[in-house]
Structures are given as C-alpha cells and as structure tokens.
C-alpha cells in the first residue's frame, strides 16, 4: 500500500470575499487516527472472516474490503479539482499531495 495523502492544498473564493482563502491542511495529522480506525476494523473483520470461512460461507472478504478501502485513500494522491466561475467569482481549487 502506498503512503496516504499527507497534505491538502485548498483554495476557495466566493463573491462575498475579496480575496480567495488559501489553506494547507496537514492530512498527516489524521494518519494516527486512521491507523487506529483501521486496527479497530481489523479486530472485528478478521474474526468475522475466520468464522465465515469455517462455516463455509462463500463471502469472507470483509478484511480485504477494509484494507482496500484504506488503500483507495492512498490513491487519492495527485488528484486535482479546479472549478472557477469568472462571472460569480467562485473558485474551488483542491490538490491532494
């Protein structure tokens, strides 16, 4: 799994604001919380999957589902969304690093 996004560069402007607001959000500060959530999720999913496997149920992939969901978050790196409306002076600019 790749590293999770560590920084979010966010700029937004609206007709009410004279100048757009520019924020650098340190996503790496959320990492410990995400690790904790992932561990708690695995504590639940691993036994559930083991039981489902032993019982012979065809679906026993909850752990893989949780892992892939967190992996999906890491693939967000490099995503850019820019929306600009010159008429209403609305601006949204988001880059994930």
């Amino acid at each position: 799994m790749k590293l999770w996004p560590w920084l979010l560069d966010l700029t937004f402007g609206s007709p009410e604001r004279e100048r757009p607001v520019h924020l650098w959000l340190p996503l790496f500060l959320v990492w410990p919380l995400m690790v904790l959530v992932a561990l708690l999720a695995f504590v639940v999913t691993l036994p559930v999957d083991a039981v489902l496997l032993l019982v012979g149920r065809p679906y026993h992939h909850y752990t893989a589902l949780v892992y892939r969901t967190f992996a999906l978050f890491s693939e967000l790196r490099g995503m850019v969304v820019r929306v600009k409306d010159d008429e209403t002076k609305t601006l949204i600019d988001m880059t994930v690093y």
């Binding site: 992996a71 999906l72 850019v80 600009k84 008429e87």
Partner: protein, 146 residues
C-alpha cells in the same frame, strides 16, 4: 495486425515511447503470443521503469465555457483501478442493493459482472480514450488520459 501491436505502434508514433522501448514491447508481445513457449525469464529485458513511466497516469476532465466557467479535474488512474477493484469485494447483499439503486436511477450497470481481469482491460481501454465535445454555445469538454 493485432490490437496490442497496433497500440504499441501508436504509442511509438505519438512519441510516448522510444523505438527501443517499442521493440522491447513487441518482443514481449511475441513471447506472450508464441505457442507453448518456455518461460525462460522476464518478458521485458532490462529496466521496465521507462516503459511504466511512459504510460498515462491520470484521467483529465476539462470543461471550458465561453461565460467563464472552467472545470479542471485530474484523477489518478490508480484511483480508478482501485475503486473498480473495490467493487469486486463488496458483499453480495450490498451489491444487489447497489445494482437496484443504480437501475432505479437509470444506470443499468451490473457490478457483479465486473471481474478483476475485466477491470485491467477496462483501464487499458481508458488509456486510449479521448473525448472532445465542442458545443455550439462555445462550451468545450475534453476527457483524456495522459
């Protein structure tokens, strides 16, 4: 000419890969398609880094309109791939609900039919995709991979 061979030659023509890289890819293709060829090592000799680097990595969606609305979205193809692969892990009950909900909203896509091997093929096809829409009112929409 096979589809893969044509794709490699197109990439060479577009300057996405060098002649040497194209030769390596064609060799690899021949090795793959040769009947009962013994696996004597990696299909691509040398460092595959430059070849991987030449492949498109992002899906771009650009909308430019005459009245000043501009939308620019850049989505990593790895995110698309991971997202599609995630659908193959969704529990069957949830998948049925998802399919029902999609069809209620006019999108009859059965995600149960999406197999991991199809996903790779879909992503490969996406790399070749390019959509250009030039509307009469001056709006310009472009979707492509690079």
């Amino acid at each position: 000419m096979s589809e893969d061979r044509a794709r490699i030659l197109n990439m060479l023509a577009e300057g996405k890969i060098t002649a040497e890289e194209a030769e390596q890819l064609l060799d690899a293709l021949e090795t793959r398609t040769a009947p009962a060829a013994p696996a004597a090592g990696p299909a691509i000799k040398g460092d595959p880094g430059p070849l991987i680097a030449a492949l498109p990595k992002y899906l771009y969606v650009k909308v430019i309109s005459d009245n000043g609305d501009n939308v620019d979205v850049k989505v990593p193809l790895a995110l698309v791939r991971s997202g599609l692969k995630l659908t193959s892990l969704i529990p069957p009950q949830a998948m049925d609900q998802l399919n029902d909900s999609m069809s209620e909203h006019g999108m009859s896509i059965d995600f149960n039919n999406l197999k991991p091997e199809d996903i790779d093929e879909l992503i490969e096809a996406l790399r070749e995709m390019e959509i250009n829409v030039n509307a009469a009112n001056g709006d310009n929409v472009r979707v492509y991979c690079a």
